[in-house]
């Protein structure tokens, strides 16, 4: 028995001794150091694969990947690998809305019902207007609680067949298939923050109604194609499956049977793109709205979008202090998907990271890449 206790003590000593290594600051603007940090973060977070890009001004200063897009088939993750990016998709919605705002086809302070084929009313506050600005700042009082109760996901590599118009009608209008009072929170519109996927998708419907174009086609014509985002779409039907990263819901299951899925409110999360493509969109924001010779948005519009309210939200974009620096950002999380996009408008630098596993947001990795972008 005493020998057993001695053995335990020896092993514990070994562990404690090894945990007392000296700590020191490293310079992640050096290629070799950054690579060591990336390798470490990649391994300790058990990522199946990831791709990343760091940008400075309108240039890419670093773009690379690690691991696998498909572990079972040993398919390497590359910066050209396509992946769903979850909630970062909402920045596309905001861009489309603000484009229509710029040309005077809508006003972000108007009642959303001006632009809809059905009427959206919070049953707890039937006389209060819901404006586009409220939807853009997640203060509209439209709630995802009801969606959480009746989440609709179609498993398989096929697009959800229902239009966003029909789905939102069913969700938000009394008598609709998914309607309940819980589709709204019991707070006055505009008064409190409640992150809402449904609210964001309602904005995409506004884009459809005002532009007279299907949302995906609008984005293609006014955002993706002018910026040269040739590997970007919302739909599986327009994406070769072999170019997709497998989203790994559970890192202990690296050969999932049916990893892909779609849902009716696709504008709020189902953008399929690559880090290379998305960096063009990010660089347009960094460069006062211009990339590839195309004016995506006016500088004054971007300024408006990046003006924080009391919840640190601009218009869809939100601001955070990360490692003592204020950045504008959006991230994304879904089954098998973790994504981050952030930029600093002062230094005109930014990063994008795609990781094909659930719930993985390694801040050390993000900050190291951002430091590299600033060098």
């Amino acid at each position: 028995m005493h020998n057993l206790i001695k053995l335990i003590m020896i092993i514990l000593n070994f562990f404690l001794f090894n945990s007392c290594a000296e700590e020191f600051i490293v310079d992640t603007t050096e290629d070799e150091t950054l690579n060591r940090v990336i390798d470490s973060e990649f391994k300790i977070n058990r990522m199946p694969g990831m791709a990343y890009v760091a940008v400075n001004g309108d240039s890419i200063v670093l773009m690379d990947a690690r691991g696998y897009a498909n572990v079972a088939e040993k398919k390497i993750f590359t910066p050209q690998t396509r992946m769903e990016i979850a909630s970062i998709s909402k920045t596309i919605i905001a861009t489309a809305i603000m484009q229509l705002h710029e040309v005077g086809l809508l006003s972000i302070d108007s009642d959303v019902n001006q632009y809809l084929p059905f009427k959206v009313v919070n049953p707890f506050y039937p006389n209060d207007l819901i404006t586009l600005r409220m939807l853009l700042t997640h203060t509209s009082s439209i709630s995802d609680v009801n969606q959480d109760n009746s989440l609709i996901v179609l498993h398989g590599y096929e697009d959800y067949p229902q239009s966003i118009n029909d789905y939102l009608h069913d969700y938000l209008v009394e008598g609709g298939q998914y309607y309940s009072k819980e589709s709204f929170s019991n707070t006055k519109p505009g008064e409190s923050y409640d992150y809402s996927n449904i609210g964001a998708t309602l904005l995409a419907l506004v884009v459809e109604q005002v532009s007279g174009t299907d949302y995906n086609n609008y984005c293609k014509a006014h955002i993706f194609e002018p910026l040269g985002m040739n590997r970007t779409t919302f739909f599986y039907s327009e994406t070769p499956k072999k170019e997709m990263a497998i989203p790994y819901l559970d890192v202990n299951d690296l050969n999932p049977e049916n990893p892909f899925n779609s849902y009716p409110d696709y504008p709020d999360g189902h953008l399929i793109t690559t880090v290379e493509d998305l960096s063009k969109f990010l660089r347009a924001y960094i460069m006062d709205g211009i990339f590839n010779g195309y004016q995506l948005l006016k500088p004054s519009t971007i300024q408006l979008m990046l003006t924080p309210n009391k919840y640190d939200f601009g218009l869809i974009w939100y601001t955070s202090i990360m490692a003592n620096t204020s950045v504008w950002r959006h991230n994304g999380g879904w089954m098998g998907i973790s994504t981050e996009m952030r930029f600093d408008p002062i230094t005109k630098t930014g990063i994008i990271v795609f990781i094909n596993r659930t719930g993985c947001y390694p801040e050390t990795l993000f900050e190291s890449l951002h430091q590299y972008a600033k060098k």
């Binding site: 057993l4 053995l7 335990i8 092993i11 562990f15 090894n18 945990s19 290594a21 000296e22 700590e23 020191f24 600051i25 490293v26 992640t28 060591r36 940090v37 390798d39 470490s40 973060e41 391994k43 300790i44 977070n45 058990r46 819901l249 559970d250 890192v251 202990n252 990360m322 490692a323 003592n324 620096t325 596993r357 659930t358 719930g359 801040e363 050390t364 900050e367 190291s368 430091q371």
Partner: protein
């Protein structure tokens, strides 16, 4: 539903065990040594070594406690060392077959053999060296085995027990914090551990 059945079964087992007559106790060889595989099937490999003691030892029921050292390794990643304490109940059927349930808690430390990094309060990236991640473990196992004593009077048991355990903090998926493990091995009761006064 599965949880309800599981806990109902557990409750029944414990209830029956408390009704076992201690007067029927088999007082010989209450302390044993367990040796076995411990790890996540096909993902990590490891072993366990521990001591087992019967707190109640009758022909049909045993209430037992274990103290196990566990070691596991994940290729190209971490090596773990842990101490787990468990307590459970065993129902032995005819011919020596038994079912057993245990609850477990303890410590597992995972050692990463490469430098780790973190951000300090000034926003600097720090090399913090090779570190151990300390985790608290809570779990349970429900398995079966064979007790040779019933048929051969040889005081030895084979066991196979799937384990569900929760590790906190945890670097795995936040939505699936439970880890799955497997204990498989042998328990024997050497005479030097069971000397009688």
């Amino acid at each position: 539903m599965v949880k309800k059945i599981f806990f109902s079964l557990l409750f029944v087992l414990f209830f029956i065990a408390t009704k076992a007559n201690p007067a029927d106790s088999l007082h010989l060889n209450n302390i044993g040594i367990t040796l076995g595989y411990w790890g996540t099937p096909a993902k990590t490999t490891g072993f366990q070594l521990g001591l087992q003691k019967y707190q109640l030892n009758t022909e049909k029921f045993k209430i037992l406690t274990n103290c196990d050292l566990v070691v596991e390794k994940r290729t190209n990643s971490y090596s773990s060392f842990g101490v787990l304490l468990s307590s459970g109940v065993r129902r032995t059927f005819r011919f020596g077959l038994f079912m057993e349930y245990n609850i477990k808690s303890g410590y597992i430390g995972s050692y990463y053999p490469f430098d780790l990094y973190k951000i300090n309060s000034n926003g600097d990236v720090m090399n913090i060296g090779k570190k151990i991640y300390h985790t608290f473990v809570f779990g349970n196992s429900f398995g079966f085995g064979y007790d040779f004593y019933s048929t051969t009077k040889m005081d030895m048991q084979l066991f196979l027990k799937p384990v569900l355990y929760y590790r906190y903090p945890n670097l795995d998926n936040p939505f699936y914090l439970n880890n799955f493990g497997l204990e498989a091995g042998i328990t024997f009761h050497p005479s030097f551990l069971n000397k009688k006064d």
